[in-house]
């Protein structure tokens, strides 16, 4: 009798140790202007396993943590430097030195040349708080300092924006990135850094020519978007994935490459991309799960990707919400999922009844 109770107890303990997929804070988090040190701190506070950031080069070869190649959606660059735009009206990061970029005030994303906030429910873009652009160095120091002061293993997922664009200016952004990381002793598979980019050949170059041992992830999308010269049709095929598995640790595909949605945002079915990737031991990290813009049921969305598609991580603007939803379906400490405990006690009871029936026959 006691043995049965103990078995049941240990079964419930096993439930508690199942880990949830990684949760990656997209550009830090949704709650503060993207990629600022403030939103990165917020992303860490919300227990993101990783923070995702983007890097571009300035004119003087400094790595700036900024998503677009231009500055008009997130800063007052138009007011501060009225004559420094190109003929298309935009002000490009690579046309400015770091000292000039430091003078900018950053705000929550707006549609360029308007005051319209892209995500209306987020931090007010009209706010006068002097948020600023951060450099990769500042971001690394924040990460490493926080790891020390909190004793927690935060990690950084760094996207190299458009390596081919940067090559046009005779810069190897990857080389600058790798040497910046090396200056902070960040070079190994086990270091808290993962590098990703859309240009697959750049990843091959980083792995083969630079001999980097850092973890790499291949961003995947559709060819018609012209994100890079890579052939994503090939890289999403079995042969392509096998090739990737020799170079990278994972893939980060647009979530619509893993799941088919209808026009209302409801899930129809899943594709075979995840199982193919898993066949070659590639982790799968889809993007981007945004609670405030997803039209369907967000809980069902997370649930589907977690239990049916079985992805290894979620790139999301609301890491706190995704963590909460994942923990609801994974497990807990006894007392929050009464169902399991009830089931176990019920099982013991039935076994006891059966034993009793056996002896009385």
């Amino acid at each position: 009798m006691l043995k049965i109770f103990l078995i049941a107890f240990f079964l419930s303990k096993i439930y508690q140790t199942i880990e949830r997929p990684l949760v990656i804070g997209h550009r830090g988090s949704a709650y503060l202007p993207e990629l600022t040190l403030e939103t990165q701190s917020m992303g860490h506070a919300l227990h993101s396993d990783m923070i995702e950031i983007d890097v571009c080069l300035s004119r003087d070869n400094q790595l700036l943590v900024v998503h677009d190649l231009y500055l008009n959606a997130v800063s007052n660059v138009g007011n501060l430097y009225p004559n420094r735009n190109r003929s298309d009206g935009y002000h490009y990061v690579i046309d400015f030195d770091l000292a000039e970029l430091r003078r900018l005030t950053i705000h929550e994303r707006t549609i360029p040349f308007t005051n319209t906030q892209v995500y209306p429910s987020r931090f007010p873009s009209s706010s006068s708080i002097p948020f600023s652009l951060s450099t990769l160095n500042e971001t690394l120091e924040l990460l490493l300092g926080l790891r020390r002061s909190t004793n927690q293993q935060y990690q950084l997922l760094i996207e190299i924006k458009n390596p081919e664009y940067h090559s046009q200016y005779n810069r190897s952004i990857s080389e600058i990135l790798l040497s910046t990381l090396a200056a902070y002793n960040l070079t190994e598979l086990t270091d808290p850094i993962v590098i990703q980019t859309f240009h697959i050949e750049e990843l091959i170059h980083i792995r083969k020519n630079h001999g980097s041992r850092l973890r790499l992830v291949a961003l995947l999308t559709w060819n018609w978007l012209n994100e890079s010269s890579s052939d994503y049709d090939f890289y999403r095929s079995e042969q392509g994935l096998q090739n990737l598995s020799w170079i990278v640790q994972g893939i980060a595909p647009n979530m619509e490459l893993l799941v088919n949605f209808d026009s209302n945002g409801s899930i129809i079915d899943m594709t075979n991309l995840t199982s193919l990737a898993h066949k070659y031991q590639l982790a799968v990290y889809p993007w981007t799960f945004r609670y405030d813009t997803y039209k369907g049921n967000f809980k069902e969305l997370i649930d589907f990707f977690h239990r049916k598609v079985q992805v290894d991580g979620f790139i999301t603007s609301q890491p706190d919400l995704v963590i909460k939803l994942l923990e609801q379906t994974t497990t807990n400490a006894m007392g929050e999922l009464p169902g399991i405990s009830m089931l176990l006690y019920g099982l013991i009871f039935v076994i006891y009844l059966l034993m009793k029936m056996n002896t009385s026959i």
Binding site: L37, T39, S41, L144, G145, D320, G335
Partner: protein, 346 residues
């Protein structure tokens, strides 16, 4: 999220983890789940309320290297000697000793790393308002907890109307009534009385308390009087809460008997918000930080506390809540189980 009524106040933010009073530090505290973010306020030369704990700049910024020679004859760099524009040029750091250059708390955020700035009270209040708007479904509303630092020092420096200036900024951000999500605190009890009677403020006021031996050179407040029976009766006529050092809530020695101050506060229905609970500085009287929290939260049942590590406090609160729930549930289901066995066998 914790659902208890204990108010967790992020002391200078989550200052156990990031440089105090910087916006990333406040963002961290907000994300960790605090109920209030704390702002210490002192004035710049041009009368702008700045969020800073000291009246000096030299232990939390690079002022000594950016403005060499701007110190006073005592060697210190005073905030009140610098304009807002100058203060904005500084880089804020984790706290260090201005003479030795060593960190005050050895295991916190490394000194002089990354880039942080000092902010104005207005900027921080706007930050809080924006975060309160941006959080999911507006469920969480984090309040402000403002301390007016050293009014008598400011008066000596000819900035006599410090409280008026601060109240005006608060008013601009819709903080003026008792029902607003804010507490206003001060170590200068006479100033609190003036804020209540002369300036007619309706805000919730908190009397910060200490020992007379711990007072700085500019303070005239007699804490021996204010913590006495008569003093507390007087205090309760114009403040809503006391903010004592936590050691003032139990008697000297090891018995952990609640102090007279504690009983007086309860008698006058004053809220008790002691400072400061630091998981990296636990008095030897308590075996661990959790044991310390257990004493104050579960035994003394204080109403709120200031902490440098809000996540630790909230984790403690949530785990005791979970434990209580689990104990209740398992007692219940085991009871049913035993009952049904008994029914079968009988």
């Amino acid at each position: 999220m914790k659902s208890s009524s204990i108010e967790v106040i992020g002391h200078r933010g989550a200052s156990g983890y990031l440089p105090e009073h910087t916006l990333p530090c406040k963002a961290l505290a907000y994300g960790q789940g605090v109920d209030y973010l704390e702002q210490d306020v002192a004035l710049s030369k041009d009368n702008v309320p700045i969020v800073i704990h000291d009246i000096y700049l030299d232990e939390i910024s690079d002022v000594a290297s950016v403005f060499p020679g701007r110190n006073r004859s005592d060697g210190r760099f005073y905030l009140i000697d610098f304009t807002l524009a100058e203060i904005k040029q500084l880089r804020a750091s984790e706290r260090f000793n201005h003479q030795t250059g060593n960190p005050i708390y050895p295991n916190r955020f490394p000194l002089h790393q990354s880039t942080f700035h000092l902010v104005t009270l207005a900027e921080e209040l706007e930050f809080i308002a924006g975060l309160n708007k941006a959080n999911l479904d507006n469920k969480r509303q984090v309040g402000a907890y403002v301390e007016i630092k050293n009014p008598s020092f400011h008066a000596m420096e000819d900035h006599r109307n410090m409280s008026e200036i601060v109240l005006e900024v608060l008013r601009k951000y819709n903080y003026s009534k008792r029902s607003d999500n804010i507490y206003l605190q001060c170590f200068d009890i006479d100033e609190l009385k003036r804020i209540r009677s002369e300036l007619r403020s309706d805000l919730k006021l908190v009397a910060l308390l200490t020992d007379n031996r711990e007072r700085d050179e500019y303070s005239k407040t007699d804490y021996t009087y204010w913590t006495s029976r008569i003093g507390m009766a007087n205090l309760s006529t114009f403040v809503d809460a006391i903010g004592p050092h936590y050691a003032q809530l139990y008697e000297q020695g090891n018995t952990l008997q609640p102090s007279e101050l504690y009983y007086e506060a309860r008698k006058h229905k004053l809220l008790i918000h002691p400072y400061t609970f630091r998981s990296d500085v636990v008095p030897s009287l308590f075996a661990t930080f959790d044991v310390m929290l257990q004493f104050f939260l579960d035994i003394l049942r204080i109403d709120g506390l200031f902490t440098d590590q809000p996540d630790r406090v909230i984790r403690y609160i949530e785990s005791t809540q979970k434990l209580n729930k689990a104990v209740k549930f398992h007692s219940f289901s085991f009871g049913i189980f035993i009952l049904s066995i008994a029914l079968i066998t009988l």
